[in-house]
């Protein structure tokens, strides 16, 4: 349960809000590289944390992320002409470079220097691991580049997709922390999904529906261990890392690629669910990539030409009661990503947490909220840099492993939880 003012505090990320300030301490995924595929390609408009922006790649391939609206009379620069190292507004021809600097005001003599006095707000945009990342905070506090393992392995070992989710970011992210829903909502997919099935560990999930949890604070966020009984005096552990503010990893299965998410606020009523899949030591196979593109695993199929899921609220998520009755899906919705999204959207755009009844197994969620609130407060009141900004905090891995019952996972899985170049994931 959260009081209304606490819920508002955590869910609002517009400029000037405490959580908005917190998010603006980090590099955040803004676009897929494929959205700006080449120099002078069409610009893309986007909204992040309540700010409307336009992104483009100029004639030299430089990336820009600037205020969407022309400084002259407010036309959207999405209509702009991306040419000769700048984005030109089609209304009266004003032109802006990747830093938002006005380069040309055709109605004024160039010698007047008027253009120099006009500048649109801009944010840095960098490319890493097939993702274009932005940092929207104060320039003097810009942290080093992100070091999440999925964006540092060679490109043929990693795959990223994103989907629009029509809810606040927090209820989406809480789904990523809450691994106790997997044995219910996703149970049908463990044995059928090409990116999940066949792992030796899956049997423990199915045999033991009420795992026991251990929540540990890590430097960058949390580790949430779920343990189930296994043979020979061992436990089967699935360990989910959360890195502040909105990165979650899903514990791996067998030699399948490892996956997880970023939950990035668009505005208070919608967010981008970013979904990565990567393998630390080998290229993804064609079959894996084809499955990901086909919406398997944690990915989705799209409404053509968009990043909106094909199964969405407008078609009741293609609800299939037959499949639900027959147990092929638990909720009647197909695909792991949409199973989560459909339920989270049903909570309403901003979940009313004053009515929820949490139980002890929800401690991961309770702790994450607590750390977010505490960190935002320390940032706003004392300027304390929050956990997860330091790229060292990004070098954490999810893990699935068997440990002797008397071994602590924070000790027994210590190495397994570290991202290490050229070392295979720890997974059963």
């Amino acid at each position: 349960m959260l009081r209304k003012e606490q819920n508002d505090y955590l869910t609002q990320t517009d400029p000037g809000t405490p959580m908005g300030d917190l998010f603006r301490c980090y590099w955040m995924p803004a676009l897929l590289s494929e959205e700006l595929p080449e120099a002078d390609c069409p610009p893309v408009r986007l909204k992040l944390m309540g700010e409307r922006l336009v992104a483009f790649r100029d004639s030299e391939g430089k990336l820009g992320l600037i205020d969407e609206f022309c400084a002259h009379r407010g036309v959207s620069l999405w209509f702009g002409r991306n040419e000769e190292c700048g984005l030109r507004c089609p209304y009266h021809g004003w032109k802006f470079d990747v830093n938002g600097q006005c380069m040309d005001v055709p109605s004024e003599p160039a010698e007047s220097g008027y253009a120099k006095k006009v500048k649109l707000k801009s944010y840095p945009l960098i490319e890493k691991g097939g993702v274009l990342w932005t940092y929207m905070g104060p320039p003097e506090k810009q942290p080093p580049e992100p070091e999440y393992e999925f964006c540092t392995v060679p490109l043929n070992q990693t795959f990223m997709s994103k989907r629009l989710q029509e809810t606040n970011w927090l209820q989406a992210m809480e789904g990523g922390i809450d691994s106790s829903h997997v044995s219910f909502l996703h149970r049908g997919d463990l044995s059928t999904d090409p990116l999940f099935k066949g792992a030796a560990g899956n049997k423990y999930n199915m045999q033991d529906l009420s795992p026991v949890f251990e929540v540990i604070e890590s430097e960058g966020g949390l580790l949430i261990g779920a343990r189930r009984n296994a043979e020979d005096d061992q436990y089967y552990w699935r360990i989910t890392p959360w890195v502040m503010p909105c990165y979650t990893g899903v514990p791996p299965r067998g030699d399948h690629p490892m996956h997880g998410h970023f939950w990035v606020p668009i505005d208070d009523h919608s967010c981008w669910a970013w979904s990565y899949d990567y393998h630390p030591t080998r290229a993804l196979t064609d079959h894996e990539v084809d499955s990901m593109k086909a919406g398997k695993g944690i990915h989705v199929r799209y409404v053509p030409g968009t990043y909106r899921p094909l199964a969405n609220k407008d078609n009741d998520y293609l609800m299939d009661r037959e499949a639900q009755k027959a147990g092929r899906t638990f909720s009647g919705v197909e695909g792991i990503g949409m199973q989560d999204a459909s339920l989270q959207e049903s909570m309403g755009p901003i979940c009313d947490r004053s009515k929820e009844n949490l139980v002890s197994t929800d401690n991961g969620i309770i702790m994450a909220r607590h750390r977010l609130m505490r960190s935002a407060k320390a940032l706003v009141e004392k300027g304390v840099i929050p956990p997860g900004v330091d790229p060292e905090h990004h070098k954490v891995r999810q893990a699935a492993l068997l440990l002797k019952r008397d071994v602590q996972y924070k000790d027994g899985a210590k190495e397994a939880l570290k991202a290490k170049q050229g070392v295979r994931q720890t997974s059963v």
């Binding site: 349960m1 251990e214 009523h269 609220k313 002890s360 309770i366 702790m367 607590h370």
Partner: protein
């Protein structure tokens, strides 16, 4: 035509969620397993709670033997005023039990509490608070003691967390 899901998931529709208390007050009993935790709990108890009550396990305060279940169960807890209370009936009248342990301290008394929880089908949630001087090995040792008995085990570096958690659980 607009689908039903699209119509009912708007912000305006959230207004029509039926407003009423959808759960009754839960009784949460919070038990300190060692002297440093007891100090923390004394502080916590000063706040306003709806369904939380606070106790100390007697094992560290008296001659009761940790882990020994045959004797003294009828007086195995102290409330904060120092009155001896009967562990089994306190557990029986709870909805769930929270035990708090400071890392490195003796947490073995948890087994007696856990036996009572098992007998009455109550969930036991354990929190380890590492405290200033606690080493990694201390935390591991505490976790090792608590693990067999807890459905949920939390390491919380900041004592505020217990307040946050109890509030979140409507205690």
């Amino acid at each position: 035509m607009q689908s039903e899901s699209a119509r009912v998931t708007t912000a305006q529709e959230s207004r029509f969620r039926v407003q009423y208390p959808n759960s009754r007050q839960r009784a949460v009993k919070v038990i300190a397993l060692d002297p440093p935790s007891a100090e923390m709990i004394d502080e916590l108890a000063k706040k306003e709670w709806k369904g939380a009550t606070f106790f100390r396990a007697l094992s560290f305060a008296s001659d009761a033997e940790p882990g020994k279940t045959d004797a003294g169960l009828s007086a195995w807890l102290n409330d904060l005023a120092g009155r001896a209370l009967d562990l089994v009936s306190e557990v029986a009248s709870s909805d769930f039990i929270v035990v708090v342990s400071a890392a490195g301290e003796d947490a073995r008394s948890v087994s007696v509490i856990a036996d009572a929880c098992t007998a009455h089908h109550k969930t036991l949630l354990a929190i380890v608070v590492p405290g200033e001087g606690a080493s990694d090995a201390d935390v591991s040792a505490s976790m090792g003691h608590l693990r067999p008995y807890a459905r949920m085990l939390v390491i919380a570096h900041d004592a505020d967390y217990i307040t946050a958690m109890l509030t979140a659980l409507r205690a």
